[in-house]
């Protein structure tokens, strides 16, 4: 009975971090679906989101030390999202868009350059050491059966689910959302029906980066320390999640995020934490060997 406790507990923990991975994975998948670009800088956007959150919090504390936790948290998340969304759109506009007709690898190198830029800019501004991220919300423990969880975990899960539901609705029902799907499916046809690719691509970056920002803040609140190097590792795992779900596939990214989170948590619980990171890669490797289109993905077919 004890072992099932650990098992379920790990799953619960895994779901929490999995939600965050899912949010970030969505950014990768949205951009890849439309541009076939692996946005290497996306992980740094997540990291910037975390630092923005910290910054806003610090600012808020100078105003008043006694602000209500929940509204404060929500405000921080929203502000961080706005910040990262703006950053993402700016990057697309000035670094990726000019290269749209360039050799396939050029934007990849640019993305890597941006990754370096962001990492080092943050390091220079905030310092290289780990930064303490406040939990903001006072911890309250709950338990369900033999599984313990905190209100923070619930918050993360709810916020993430809310964001993902809104995103899904947006993509399915709104005009812009449909335009995004059209552009991802067939760029030529999309432009023929009057869809402006520039606008849609900007929106994809806007949404993806915003979600990553939210993920960043929640990541900070959950782990309580952030470092400028976090973007790389988390980014890579989120990317794995996107591929696992089927890159370009939105529900897939969500599913993939959760799975990676759960698998990682189980791995940390049962194996050593060092192999925890390898786990994600082994999974990635296996998927690509056995089912490269991912769990929910479809198009690996080459058109003749």
């Amino acid at each position: 009975m004890h072992s099932s406790n650990v098992f379920l507990q790990q799953i619960a923990n895994g779901i929490t971090i999995g939600m965050i991975y899912a949010l970030i994975a969505l950014g990768y998948t949205l951009v890849y679906g439309i541009l076939q670009l692996i946005n290497f800088a996306h992980g740094e956007i997540f990291m910037v989101g975390a630092y923005l959150g910290l910054f806003v919090y610090t600012l808020s504390q100078t105003v008043s030390g006694n602000l209500a936790a929940t509204p404060l948290t929500i405000s921080i998340i929203v502000l961080a999202m706005i910040g990262t969304a703006a950053l993402g759109v700016t990057i697309e506009r000035f670094a990726y868009r000019p290269l749209r007709n360039s050799p396939r690898l050029a934007p990849l190198i640019t993305a890597i350059g941006i990754s370096f830029l962001l990492q080092n800019a943050v390091m220079l501004i905030f310092g290289p050491s780990d930064k303490n991220f406040p939990q903001i919300i006072k911890s309250q423990n709950y338990s369900w059966g033999n599984v313990a969880f905190t209100n923070l975990q619930i918050l993360i899960a709810l916020t993430s689910i809310l964001l993902m539901v809104v995103l899904n609705a947006f993509i399915k029902n709104s005009k812009l959302g449909k335009a995004m799907r059209a552009l991802a499916d067939d760029p030529k046809a999309a432009s023929l029906v009057g869809i402006n690719p520039d606008q849609i691509i900007s929106i994809a970056f806007l949404i993806g980066s915003g979600l990553a920002g939210a993920g960043g803040v929640m990541f900070g609140m959950y782990y309580n320390t952030i470092n400028f190097h976090d973007g790389y590792l988390v980014g890579l795992k989120a990317f794995t999640a996107a591929v696992l779900g089927g890159i370009g596939n939105v529900p897939g990214a969500m599913l993939g995020g959760l799975l990676i989170g759960i698998l990682e948590s189980l791995g940390a619980g049962y194996l050593s934490s060092e192999w925890k990171n390898v786990f994600a890669f082994f999974i990635l490797f296996l998927i690509l060997l056995l089912r490269p289109s991912g769990l929910l993905g479809s198009r690996v077919v080459k058109k003749v």
Binding site: I38, S102, I112, G113, L117, L236, F285
Partner: protein, 375 residues
């Protein structure tokens, strides 16, 4: 392995050197020069001879000769050991960039985990040297072939996966190798790595030269290897296989309809790319005397890729230039120290915005140049 002495008045004289430790420089690569015994002069002569017999136009072989002279006399003009050391690193990256260029530039297969091959070469030499006492020169071949094999194994998924997926596989592979090296303590020494690797030693009949920690001999070694590698890559580029690679890069399906065996071509690309990374790793290990996983992380893979793209994808000289630039750039920025990597990132972004096809452009067209604009 017989020692063939010939008539000194013979025009071509092949003389295999057989050292006590079984140096294995194959016969047709080594032509004893009549005046100087130094490896350097010998190599230059071989190359010039080959160039003249190849189809390279006269001005081109002149330019190349000039370049060779410049490279090989540099340490005599700039004796600063720090500079020479940087050039050695640059040389190793020139090898790496050239190798990756075969996979990414010639065959058009994106490889995001090339550092794993580099690591493979380094650790292979480290292990065979430490456990089996294999000397450097033999180690070069062992590292080369083992890594080539490794590369071929990694290429097997290449058959079924389209470009981007394959890229991700290579990425994952690179990480898996690094983490495995980090964790397989008993074999690889874990995070501390392996120590006490032998430096190279040269044996000419009774004369022996032991490489130590001074950078000069490594400089000549590395650049000799670069010259050799470039020589063979140029041959490949203008061969049937080289054409097949470019065709694959342009339009894989059409290429296969022209009779190109895609699988074999891709395997070859990974094999060659692997071999070159192997020898680069071996040189690195022999020079450092130690290997540890830190030297082979994703950032290194990315750097090598950036070198290839910056110089011009598929362009042999481009890869060399890119490697040189990205190796030296951090040094020029050393004055700014903490801002170094920041400027590095900015530089990458700017170069891509200004010249996305790379500085020397993709694929050298001896004939036509005016369509070198965007792809």
């Amino acid at each position: 392995m017989k020692k063939r002495t010939g008539d000194p008045t013979e025009k071509k004289k092949f003389h295999k050197v057989r050292a006590p430790n079984k140096s294995v420089i194959p016969e047709y690569f080594y032509r004893e020069s009549i005046d100087s015994r130094s490896k350097r002069a010998g190599m230059t002569r071989v190359l010039l001879g080959a160039l003249k017999s190849s189809s390279a136009s006269l001005p081109e072989s002149f330019k190349i000769s000039l370049l060779l002279v410049a490279i090989f006399t540099l340490p005599f003009f700039d004796k600063n050991p720090y500079h020479i050391d940087i050039m050695v690193t640059a040389g190793i990256f020139m090898l790496l960039a050239s190798g990756l260029n075969v996979i990414v530039g010639f065959a058009g297969i994106l490889n995001l985990g090339y550092a794993a091959f580099y690591a493979m070469g380094a650790y292979t030499y480290a292990l065979v040297n430490l456990h089996l006492g294999v000397p450097f020169w033999a180690g070069l071949w062992v590292s080369g072939f083992v890594t080539a094999l490794f590369g071929i194994l990694l290429a097997l998924p290449a058959f079924r996966l389209s470009g981007d997926y394959l890229a991700i596989v290579t990425l994952g592979f690179g990480e898996i190798v690094r983490i495995t090296l980090n964790n397989l303590d008993r074999i690889t020494g874990g995070p501390n790595g392996l120590l006490g690797i032998q430096h190279p030693a040269l044996h000419f009949s009774s004369y022996q030269y032991q490489f130590g920690v001074r950078s000069e001999p490594y400089y000549f070694l590395v650049f000799s290897l670069v010259v050799i590698v470039v020589f063979f890559l140029k041959r490949l580029e203008s061969s049937r296989l080289g054409r097949a690679w470019v065709a694959i890069r342009e339009d894989e399906l059409a290429a296969s309809c022209m009779g190109v065996d895609l699988g074999w071509a891709k395997l070859s690309a990974f094999g060659i790319g692997g071999f070159i990374a192997g020898i680069a790793g071996c040189v690195f290990a022999a020079k450092q005397g130690t290997v540890s996983p830190d030297s082979f992380d994703f950032v290194v893979s990315v750097m090598i890729l950036a070198m290839v793209v910056l110089g011009g994808l598929g362009n042999i000289w481009g890869a060399l230039l890119g490697a040189l630039m990205l190796s030296l750039l951090p040094e020029f920025l050393r004055g700014f120290d903490i801002y170094r990597m920041l400027f590095f990132g900015i530089a990458m972004i700017l170069i891509m915005l200004l010249r996305p096809q790379g500085i020397l452009g993709e694929r050298r067209h001896k004939e036509e140049f005016h369509s070198q604009s965007s792809r």
